[in-house]
């Protein structure tokens, strides 16, 4: 299951830099890598979540002009926060995944902005928050139920297969 997720994640990272910029929603491009990671940590737990966050982060770093490790660090911290705070509370409640996705998107982008600032780049904090981060957080929060449903189905299927093998 984890290996399949890695392949999907790398494919999503590639789509993130090629196809997604062409279909913006509310003026921003949905972050499909972050979306998958959020759904994964909620369904499959923190351990798999951080492994995928690291791999997905490195993949994004390779496509980005930021130093290697920037996206990996931001994603790791975000997924750990979601895994520890939101994931244990979400079972049977749609509010937590939605609120968790919103907060996680804000946190992730604030971390990236902080890295840019640390690297000496000019950062328009308020404009970035108002025009990019908040609309993006709304989109991610709106899309998380779908990502969660897909991940949950994949998880159930994997569990059925494991049971059949054991049986």
């Amino acid at each position: 299951m984890l290996y399949a997720a890695i392949v999907i994640l790398l494919l999503l990272a590639l789509l993130q830099v090629t196809v997604m910029p062409q279909i913006p929603l509310l003026g921003v491009r949905p972050d499909v890598v972050l979306l998958l990671l959020l759904a994964w940590v909620m369904v499959r737990g923190l351990r798999e979540g951080v492994i995928l966050a690291f791999i997905g982060g490195i993949a994004l770093d390779l496509f980005s002009s930021l130093p290697l490790g920037s996206h990996a660090l931001a994603l790791l911290l975000t997924i750990v926060a979601v895994g520890l705070l939101a994931a244990p509370l979400h079972r049977g409640n749609v509010v937590f995944p939605v609120a968790g996705a919103f907060a996680a998107t804000v946190l992730y982008n604030l971390l990236l902005l902080t890295f840019s600032q640390l690297l000496g780049e000019e950062v328009a904090w308020l404009a970035s928050l108002g025009r990019i981060v908040l609309p993006l957080a709304l989109i991610e929060a709106a899309l998380i139920p779908l990502a969660y449903w897909v991940t949950d189905r994949l998880d159930q299927r994997a569990q059925r297969r494991t049971k059949m093998r054991i049986g």
Partner: protein
């Protein structure tokens, strides 16, 4: 839980080490190898993305027509499908003609044609990755700071170079500054800063208070050299954008909001200005 904590710590330390080493010593060769390996795939997917965007726009247009005339929409869809291949070729042809026209307009400059193969993964930065043919353009040397243009006007400048590819900071990014002048009788000069976060715009600052500016005025590159790019100025006379709003500042300068001349959200082909012939 202890094993997970150890794993988190290990991955965090690896990421932090990569970040510091890349910043201090530079791991550009890893990205270079990655770009080299993935650019054909990126190029293909970016093309598909552009087609998807055009289809999306066509679909939206069709939706409006549907309200007015269902039959007409069906006919348009049919003809659109039939002519899609032809339209695509025509559009590419037109773009290449425009690029050639640009070469005629600036005959003293050397160019390298490049295709947009990707964009920065996040929405926070306005950076595109462009690639060129390794077979045709083997001897070219692209350097950081080189201007990038398209038929409509200025696009940005090169900020990172890989084998057969480069990252381009668009003029609308918040960290971009271009020395500019307004094309009118006064020809006032100023600095055009990126304000993409404020709606894909630019803001021209330091325009003398006494200068007359009107909405619709063209803003061009002035060719003046700005710190920290003293050695990498843009050629003068390239269109940056048009004035859409004028704001009288409290001090001795006024400011203007600009709409970029080039459609930077849907770039497909660009030219890197390699220097004077």
């Amino acid at each position: 839980m202890r094993r997970t904590a150890f794993l988190i710590l290990a991955l965090f330390l690896v990421s932090l080490t990569l970040f510091i080493v890349d910043r201090v010593a530079g791991l550009g060769w890893i990205k270079g190898a990655w770009v080299w390996a993935t650019s054909p795939l990126q190029r293909g997917l970016s093309d598909e993305g552009s087609k998807l965007h055009r289809s999306w726009e066509r679909w939206q247009e069709s939706g409006r027509l549907q309200e007015e005339n269902e039959q007409l929409r069906e006919m348009v869809d049919y003809l659109t499908t039939e002519n899609r291949g032809y339209q695509e070729l025509k559009r590419e042809n037109e773009e290449l003609r425009q690029l050639l026209g640009l070469r005629e307009r600036y005959p003293d400059l050397n160019y390298l044609y490049a295709e947009v193969i990707g964009r920065d993964p996040g929405s926070l930065r306005q950076i595109v990755r462009v690639g060129w043919s390794p077979l045709k353009d083997r001897k070219v040397e692209v350097r950081i700071g080189m201007p990038v243009i398209c038929p409509a006007g200025l696009v940005g400048r090169v900020i990172q170079v890989y084998p057969n590819a480069a990252d381009v900071l668009l003029i609308t990014d918040v960290s971009s500054s271009v020395s500019a002048m307004i094309q009118n009788a006064d020809r006032p000069s100023g600095v055009a800063d990126g304000r993409w976060q404020a709606g894909s715009r630019l803001r021209m600052r330091f325009i003398p208070q006494e200068a007359t500016i009107q909405e619709g005025d063209w803003v061009l590159t002035s060719g003046l050299q700005l710190p920290p790019f003293e050695e990498e100025s843009f050629p003068p006379g390239l269109p940056i954008g048009r004035v859409i709003r004028v704001e009288a500042a409290a001090d001795m300068y006024q400011e203007a909001e600009l709409l970029p001349a080039a459609d930077l959200d849907h770039l497909e082909r660009v030219m890197i200005v390699l220097g004077a012939r």
